[in-house]
């Protein structure tokens, strides 16, 4: 192995929460604590020396890095204060930026310096769309009560495709599309690198069905059940935050899909179905429960992180906080818009709704480059782990 240490990489990690990485003296206490570690591959001990030697090629293609749940046991037990958990977080942040496409946007999303632009892009785009749509008005209370935010971008005569939906789709779908494309690019590179480093024989490849059935689906089940998260020692209460948050996202996803179906597909034929849901509608209940779960989850994670930072156990990073801010913004503006609708304050409601749209677009647009990317990267790594342990990795019959 020819080693050319990358000093810039070390500096990046130090700046991104891994400032303690060079303290590691390879005692392997972390590997003893970590449930991911194996005898052959002491984790995160080997990642610590790779980091301190600036060996980024090894790190960004290391499935273990993405499998880590940042449970914090390694950091708690580290006798030298090297905080391996934080270092791994920094490595992931680096990897998301590295694999992110387009790289300019990925870089932008990696530091607080980019924050004005990060908020500016969706804000300006949505505002321009609002201007173009000609909606551009604050409705009266009566109108607001009937239609809520469903005519934010106005209405037109063409009944088969609502103007509001048209405009929302105009910016949300490309945002999500870009994110999905970017993730596809990144994950393909990651998979390739991981395979290369693991020494996979490219001649044996699983079929799509095999891949989904044997590797992806069990991973998803594991994720939903939070099986590994529950193995965490130090930060075990993060499950209390992360589980409601994840379920809230699933819930909100279902509600959004239903809402689209109900309003803009069924609603085309049954006009009475078009319009805000009543409070006792099961989907509405689900939506509200999800919103509360989301805010609760964010609150738990937020306060855990703040506490741990206060005690000096974790380093404060943009990477970690940006996601918390984003989700909190989505939750607060979403619930805020609803409350303002009930209160019948159209002007403020429209402003908060605008902010909600901005927050949601940010969530979509920056998904591949921020901590949220773990949804895709961790899932991929978990699938790879199963693949790595499967018959595909066993040598051919001798």
């Amino acid at each position: 192995m020819n080693v050319q240490p990358d000093l810039t990489f070390i500096k990046y990690l130090k700046g991104a929460g891994g400032d303690t990485l060079k303290k590691c003296y390879q005692c392997a206490t972390c590997s003893v604590k970590c449930p991911l570690s194996s005898d052959e591959k002491p984790f995160p001990r080997k990642e610590m020396i790779w980091s301190s030697w600036g060996m980024k090629e090894n790190l960004v293609a290391d499935p273990d890095v993405f499998l880590c749940h940042q449970c914090g046991d390694c950091t708690t037990y580290c006798p030298r204060g090297a905080k391996p958990g934080d270092v791994l977080g920094a490595i992931r942040a680096y990897a998301y930026t590295l694999y992110g496409w387009p790289s300019g946007l990925a870089k932008l999303a990696s530091s607080a310096k980019g924050l004005p632009v990060l908020i500016g892009i969706p804000a300006v785009v949505i505002f321009i769309f609002w201007l173009i749509s000609g909606g551009m008005h604050i409705p009266d209370k009566e109108h607001f009560a009937t239609h809520g935010y469903q005519q934010f971008f106005g209405v037109w005569e063409f009944k088969w495709y609502a103007k509001n939906i048209f405009f929302i789709v105009m910016f949300m779908v490309p945002s999500l599309g870009l994110a999905i494309f970017s993730l596809y690019m990144g994950l393909t590179r990651l998979w390739k690198q991981m395979s290369l480093n693991t020494g996979v024989n490219p001649a044996y490849r699983p079929s799509v069905t095999q891949f989904i059935g044997e590797f992806l689906w069990p991973s998803l089940v594991e994720i939903v059940k939070h099986t590994r998260f529950r193995e965490c020692g130090t930060n075990s209460d993060r499950v209390t935050g992360h589980l409601p948050l994840m379920l809230a996202f699933i819930g909100l996803f279902i509600v959004t899909c239903w809402s689209l179906l109900k309003n803009d597909i069924i609603g085309l034929f049954l006009h009475s179905w078009h319009g805000p849901m009543v409070l006792w509608d099961p989907f509405k209940i689900m939506a509200n429960v999800s919103a509360i779960a989301l805010l609760f989850g964010v609150y738990v994670l937020w306060s855990n992180r703040a506490k741990s930072e206060g005690e000096g156990k974790t380093s404060r990073t943009f990477y970690d906080w940006f996601l918390l801010w984003e989700i909190a913004a989505v939750g607060i503006t979403g619930l805020g818009s609803e409350l303002l609708r009930w209160l019948g304050v159209p002007s403020l409601g429209y402003i908060v709704y605008f902010m909600h749209l901005v927050a949601v677009m940010m969530l979509f647009l920056y998904l591949p480059y921020t901590k949220l990317a773990h949804i895709a990267y961790r899932t991929t790594a978990m699938a790879f782990e199963k693949y790595r342990e499967s018959a595909f990795m066993k040598p051919a019959v001798e």
């Binding site: 192995m1 020819n2 080693v3 050319q4 240490p5 000093l7 070390i10 500096k11 130090k14 060079k22 303290k23 003296y25 390879q26 591959k41 002491p42 080997k46 020396i49 790779w50 301190s52 030697w53 600036g54 060996m55």
Partner: protein, 754 residues
């Protein structure tokens, strides 16, 4: 001195419970015809008052104490320099060492009688000793210099000079180079010496040199070498010369008796041609009392490790060469520091490496990162030693972005397109490494100058260098752990790199200690007492020269080269070089060497005073000569732990096994005793002998006596020599009891009663 004796028995500490004190007192008053008094608490105020009253009122000046070990209560039983005190160890060696019967077994019917016989013998021996011993008269030099010679003007020498001067002593500081400073003057930076222990500091050399040059008590002689040092502590005659020149006063090489024969027959060229005889007196020499040797160290040769390419590949350098580069300018950007040369063979560091070379690698790695923004310094080690606060420096180096450390077996350094490639296996990275670097730095160790040169240049009969250097990897110490400053030549104290590879900070402490040792030597010599390890001993070996046969055994065997000789080979003692071990006394076949309180006749008489019963297998007598330094305290400890020792054994303490004269073994066996043993210290390269060679010499003598016994028809196994350590107190009873069992097996001495 007209001796007036009185013996005192103490019945405290269980002695009175185990022994019949009246019967014991009768042994003293009867057989030994000495007045005897008993006290219940002799070391207490009452007991002491009893003795002091006798001293004051009855003029008692020779006191025999039958109580505890002579190693305890020394102040309580010290009645002044003009009184003689002899102690019989009734407590630790008799009462407390009684063999207890096995559990459930009845004690031996005669157990009490055995104990009384032991106690009686120890009182007989003590009384005999009291009769034979004489008050010592300190040896005083006619002319005594209290000036200290410091050899070497580096950190160590300058500090020693400064500290000795600060204590009020005149100092001559000799430096062979044109300027003071030594090796440390060539370093770019020195290690941190204060909190937070992370920042390199400027070398203290310049400030120290200025202070030394300004000191009125210090005479600095640069560009000067010591040609030879003749004489002895208190009166060393130091001949000096300009660096690099040859003079007739250069130290003469050692010429053995065999060499001398060959030279006289013309078979060998005299190595000392043109040089003055070692006994010649240089009138121009300057008198000094003690010497601090601070001649430093030399970088070890690393060219033997072919796979590392030193000498063959350009840009493979030693740490010393790299430091020079760093001092003169910028160092390369990519550098590998190799600490251990063993490859896959072994994990040892370079010879003569210790924590200093670890620290140097950390320091030089910092240079790489300081001089180059993109600097990469790789430290490949098997051991990283950063004791004490130096650990903090290690941590700070570790946290430098451009410093990369791993444990590794470096298997090859090769040229690779104008650069160097370092191949390493067994790394912490879990993979073999190939590093492309601009330069490779090898952690050459610090070899003491004494390994390569005489350095001290003595004009002694035993030669110009320290003795037995090969035993100690070229280091001159007497015992690194126990007597760190003491060399194998009294009055010469080493410090700095010549004593141990050490940092500047350590050197400063070390040199201060050496200066104090030199002062201790001056003051002890001035008072006419031994410096070390028998500090304060006013006796010294006295020779009855009329009977000397010039056999030269004493001059050869003295571990400290204390004896010179004249052309005929008659020994010329230098009492201030002497450590009073008595090795000469043990060596002398004519038995003409002795001390006032320790001589052939004295110990011989003690042996003869032991009662040897006839025809009784339960009453054999086995004599054990015990080294006072480690074995005797170990026996005391065995007694304190009530480890039983066979009742047939009698112990006699000796200054060192080296002082064992084989006449004593003959005395014992001819007195009808059944066996004799020597109990002394370990020798060899792990030696613990306080006098370096004593136990080794005694062992050789015992081998010879075994042959003598065989010719007399006695089993050579009746004599044994055993090496023990002070920590063997739990094993010694077993060792001596097993020896007794062997003797019992052999049966009594057939010459008993003749």
């Amino acid at each position: 001195m007209d001796k007036k004796y009185c013996a005192y028995l103490c019945s405290g500490c269980g002695i009175g419970d185990a022994l019949d004190m009246e019967a014991l007192a009768e042994v003293v008053t009867g057989e030994m015809s000495m007045e005897c008094k008993t006290s219940e608490y002799l070391c207490g105020a009452e007991g002491r008052a009893l003795i002091e009253k006798d001293i004051a009122d009855n003029g008692v000046n020779t006191v025999v104490i039958g109580a505890c070990s002579p190693r305890v209560m020394q102040n309580e039983f010290n009645f002044g320099e003009d009184k003689i005190t002899v102690r019989a160890n009734l407590r630790e060696q008799v009462v407390w060492s009684e063999v207890k019967p096995a559990e459930g077994a009845e004690p031996h019917a005669e157990a009490a009688a055995f104990l009384m016989e032991s106690a009686g013998d120890y009182m007989r021996m003590a009384c005999t000793r009291a009769k034979k011993t004489a008050l010592p008269e300190p040896f005083k030099l006619e002319t005594m210099s209290k000036k200290i010679l410091v050899m070497g003007g580096g950190i160590a020498g300058m500090t020693a000079a400064k500290e000795a001067a600060a204590a009020g002593y005149e100092v001559t500081l000799v430096e062979k180079e044109a300027a003071l400073g030594g090796k440390a003057a060539e370093w770019r930076k020195s290690f941190p010496t204060r909190s937070p222990w992370t920042d390199l500091e400027d070398s203290p050399v310049a400030a120290l040199a200025a202070a030394v040059q300004q000191d009125a008590r210090i005479t600095v002689k640069t560009g000067t070498e010591v040609a030879r040092i003749a004489g002895a502590p208190g009166a060393f005659r130091v001949s000096m010369k300009a660096t690099g020149t040859e003079t007739e006063w250069d130290a003469p090489a050692k010429v053995t008796t065999e060499d001398a024969d060959k030279i006289s027959k013309g078979e060998m060229e005299n190595p000392n041609k043109g040089l003055k005889n070692y006994m010649s007196v240089d009138e121009a020499a300057e008198l000094h009392g003690a010497v601090v040797l601070a001649t430093g160290w030399l970088p070890a040769d690393v060219s033997e490790y072919a796979h590392l390419g030193y000498g063959a590949i350009k840009n493979v350098v030693t740490n010393v060469e790299f430091e020079k580069m760093a001092k003169d300018g910028k160092v390369p950007a990519k550098v590998a520091f190799i600490q251990s040369p063993g490859g896959k063979e072994h994990d040892q560091d370079f010879p003569y490496c210790n924590s200093v070379t670890s620290m140097v690698a950390l320091k030089q790695a910092q240079y790489v990162c300081q001089d180059n923004e993109d600097g990469n310094a790789f430290i490949l080690y098997q051991h990283m030693r950063t004791p004490g606060s130096q650990e903090l420096y290690y941590k700070s180096a570790q946290q430098t972005d451009g410093i990369f450390m791993t444990k590794a077996s470096v298997t090859k350094v090769e040229e690779n397109g104008g650069k160097l490639r370092v191949i390493a296996e067994d790394t912490l990275l879990g993979d073999n490494l190939a590093l492309d670097v601009d330069m490779v730095v090898l952690a050459a160790g610090m070899v003491p100058v004494t390994k390569e040169e005489y350095s001290i240049n003595l004009a002694y009969r035993q030669g110009p260098a320290f003795s037995d250097l090969s035993l100690f990897d070229g280091y001159a110490d007497s015992h690194f752990i126990c007597f760190p400053y003491e060399t194998r030549r009294t009055g010469v104290y080493t410090c700095g790199g010549v004593r141990k590879a050490e940092t500047i900070e350590e050197t400063i402490d070390d040199a201060t200690g050496a200066a104090l040792k030199a002062i201790q030597c001056l003051e002890s010599t001035d008072r006419g007492v031994s410096v070390h390890p028998r500090s304060g001993d006013a006796t010294y070996p006295e020779f009855f020269m009329q009977r000397c046969t010039q056999c030269k055994r004493c001059t050869e065997e003295c571990p400290f080269g204390a004896l010179d000789d004249d052309e005929k080979g008659t020994p010329l003692p230098n009492n201030t070089r002497c450590r009073r071990c008595g090795t000469c006394m043990g060596a002398c076949p004519e038995r003409i060497i002795g001390f006032k309180d320790y001589n052939i006749d004295l110990i011989g008489s003690m042996i003869k005073s032991v009662e040897v019963p006839e025809d009784d297998d339960d009453r054999l007598r086995i004599l054990i000569f015990v080294c006072e330094n480690d074995a005797y305290p170990a026996l005391d400890m065995a007694g304190m732990r009530r480890n039983g020792i066979n009742h047939m054994i009698r112990f006699i303490p000796v200054r060192c096994l080296g002082s064992m004269n084989m006449a004593w073994i003959r005395d014992a066996l001819s007195a009808g005793m059944d066996g004799a043993m020597l109990l002394g210290c370990t020798y060899g390269d792990d030696y613990q002998c306080h006098f370096v060679k004593g136990s080794e010499i005694a062992n050789k003598r015992m081998e010879n006596i075994g042959d003598t016994l065989s010719t007399l028809g006695l089993e050579s196994e009746r004599c044994a020599a055993v090496q023990v350590a002070i920590t063997d107190y739990d094993k010694i009873p077993q060792i001596v009891n097993d020896f007794v069992d062997e003797i019992v097996e052999m049966g009594p001495n057939p010459f008993k009663g003749f």
